[in-house]
């Protein structure tokens, strides 16, 4: 549990919620304004590997999970950020982790989450003919089909 202790020690007052699923799977809920600080600390100082990010439509909120793996301890830490579903905006992780470039593009077009300061937030998977403002991976995308 060294990983969790290290993160707790560094950001004791900024963690909103911790869910310990098992010794090797930890979910930490944080505020969206703290994302870059957490990511910088975990990725650079704790030498973690960025796996990917998952966007989830909860219907009442939009959720983004950033998965980091600390391979030497066999722990996967997932940072959970909840966003307003009507206007999901969050700071881009790409300036910190280059590998987040494409997954953020994917979340942008499939779920409609906007990433601030992303170097090239444009169509990546969907065709050019696909209507703007329709996000296929949202739970209500059938209803919202134009």
């Amino acid at each position: 549990m060294d990983t969790l202790e290290t993160i707790k020690k560094r950001f004791s007052d900024r963690i909103k919620n911790i869910k310990i699923h098992s010794d090797i799977r930890i979910y930490i809920e944080i505020d969206k304004k703290d994302l870059l600080d957490f990511a910088k600390f975990i990725f650079n100082d704790m030498d973690a590997r960025f796996i990917t990010a998952t966007g989830v439509d909860n219907l009442d909120s939009m959720e983004v999970l950033y998965h980091f793996s600390i391979d030497r301890e066999d722990v996967i830490v997932s940072l959970r950020v909840l966003l307003d579903r009507e206007d999901p905006v969050i700071e881009s992780l790409t300036p910190v982790v280059k590998g987040a470039l494409n997954i953020e593009k994917e979340m942008y077009e499939l779920l409609g989450i906007k990433f601030l300061n992303h170097p090239e937030l444009k169509r990546f998977l969907l065709t050019e003919e696909y209507p703007e403002g329709v996000f296929p991976l949202r739970k209500d995308s059938q209803k919202g089909k134009k």
Partner: protein
């Protein structure tokens, strides 16, 4: 010099899905690479939300034809993590055997194609010939050469019969000297060394920034392997080692892949030892998936395959996120291709082993100004092969040593 865009794709056998790459070239040099994906986006994450937990095992098997057991293993790991289920020991060994057989056939497939791109068609024919017996084993155990449908949540679907074990052993025993010969032939060859060493170099820093995985990361000295770092199945119960190289070039990636085949054989043999003469459950019933979330990963032949599932206690997942290794490996072209010549790009793009599942290449170069065709797919392979011939002449190796006459004539 005119600046030329060389589009690769959208439909291109170098990649497991049709994808589009634009190489911006200044003369022979590549100055920038652009990637647009999604041509074969099948919406599997969305389909998954409408399927039953048990059906998804077969759905995710269809993500990729070559590493078709990696996704089911990673998915089962994720659901088992969610439900906190421990699979029976016999199932663990069987999962390992299938996974490692797949790794051998996938790596041999890559070696063969890499040989073809470089103009060493003998390597291509050797590697693919030696891959066949592995597929025969698969057919014997699972009934299919690919898409084995062996995994299920809570274990595996078919047992490996004791009668098969001596046959599998014999095939692996016969394969070893041949693979040894192939490995030595590739590693000792001066032309291959001249052609691949120092080409498409990725540094340790590049790997970490892009999050590259698998043999690509291990060839650049990053000692990561999910099988060892997060031992699931029987990987923690058998002896084997992680192969790494420090050079980071295409040659190092070939070395890693070839040597990994031998490690895979070691794992399979130990697993067979543990299956022989023993009886046991091969799966447990997992009836209800409780609400919660689970993460599973597995070291596919190309790198870590990652699955995240979330359940609300119903029959299908609320969200199922899949991250295949090539998603992280392909962006490394930004670091490895720039500054290289067009004739080397073929092998650099092939070097990260984005799954090859088609048979044709669709690569065409157009003049930016006139839209006139300059080069097409066969020209790129020819350019690559011509470079090998030139190097052969320079270092005084007779081409006939490698090339078989019939192939020369056909190509």
């Amino acid at each position: 010099m005119k600046k030329v865009i060389v589009p690769i794709g959208p439909y291109h056998p170098l990649f497991e899905e049709p994808e589009y790459f634009a190489l911006y070239c200044d003369g022979e040099r590549v100055v920038d690479v652009e990637w647009i994906a999604g041509y074969n986006h099948r919406g599997i994450e969305k389909i998954s939300e409408s399927k039953h937990w048990d059906q998804i095992t077969f759905l995710v098997e269809r993500i990729c034809g070559i590493c078709s057991t990696s996704h089911p293993i990673a998915y089962c790991n994720a659901v088992e993590d969610l439900a906190k289920v421990e699979i029976p020991e016999r199932a663990k060994y069987i999962r390992c055997i299938i996974g490692e057989l797949e790794r051998i056939h996938s790596h041999l497939l890559w070696v063969g194609l890499a040989g073809h791109f470089l103009g060493y068609n003998t390597v291509f024919m050797w590697a693919w010939k030696y891959r066949e017996p592995i597929l025969d084993i698969m057919e014997m155990i699972t009934g299919n050469r690919n898409h084995y449908a062996m995994m299920k949540i809570g274990g595996v679907r078919r047992d490996i019969d004791d009668a098969y074990i001596p046959i599998i052993r014999k095939i692996l025993e016969d394969l070893k000297p041949k693979l040894n010969m192939l490995t030595n032939a590739v590693l000792d060859d001066p032309v291959l060394a001249a052609r691949l060493k120092g080409v498409g170099v990725l540094t340790n820093k590049d790997i970490k920034e892009f999050g590259a995985l698998g043999p690509v990361a291990r060839a650049s000295g990053l000692d990561i392997d999910v099988r060892r770092d997060s031992p699931h199945s029987a990987y923690g119960l058998v002896e084997w080692k992680v192969i790494t190289q420090n050079e980071g070039d295409v040659f190092a990636r070939a070395v890693v892949r070839l040597l990994e085949c031998f490690e895979s054989m070691k794992i399979i043999e130990q697993c067979l030892d543990n299956l022989k003469g023993k009886k046991g459950e091969i799966s447990i019933d997992v009836r209800n998936i409780p609400p919660g979330e689970g993460i599973g990963h597995y070291e596919a032949p190309r790198g870590e395959c990652f699955h995240y599932v979330r359940s609300d206690g119903t029959g299908s997942p609320l969200r199922h996120k899949i991250r295949a290794p090539s998603f992280n490996n392909i962006p490394t072209f930004k670091a490895s291709c720039i500054g290289e010549t067009i004739s080397d790009v073929t092998i650099i793009l092939a070097g990260v082993d984005p799954c090859y599942c088609c048979t044709e290449r669709a690569i065409v170069a157009y003049d930016v100004n006139t839209q006139k065709k300059i080069l097409d797919g066969s020209d790129f392979i020819r350019l690559s092969q011509e470079k090998t011939r030139k190097i052969e002449k320079e270092i005084g190796v007779a081409p006939s040593r490698w090339e078989e006459k019939n192939w020369e004539r056909d190509n």
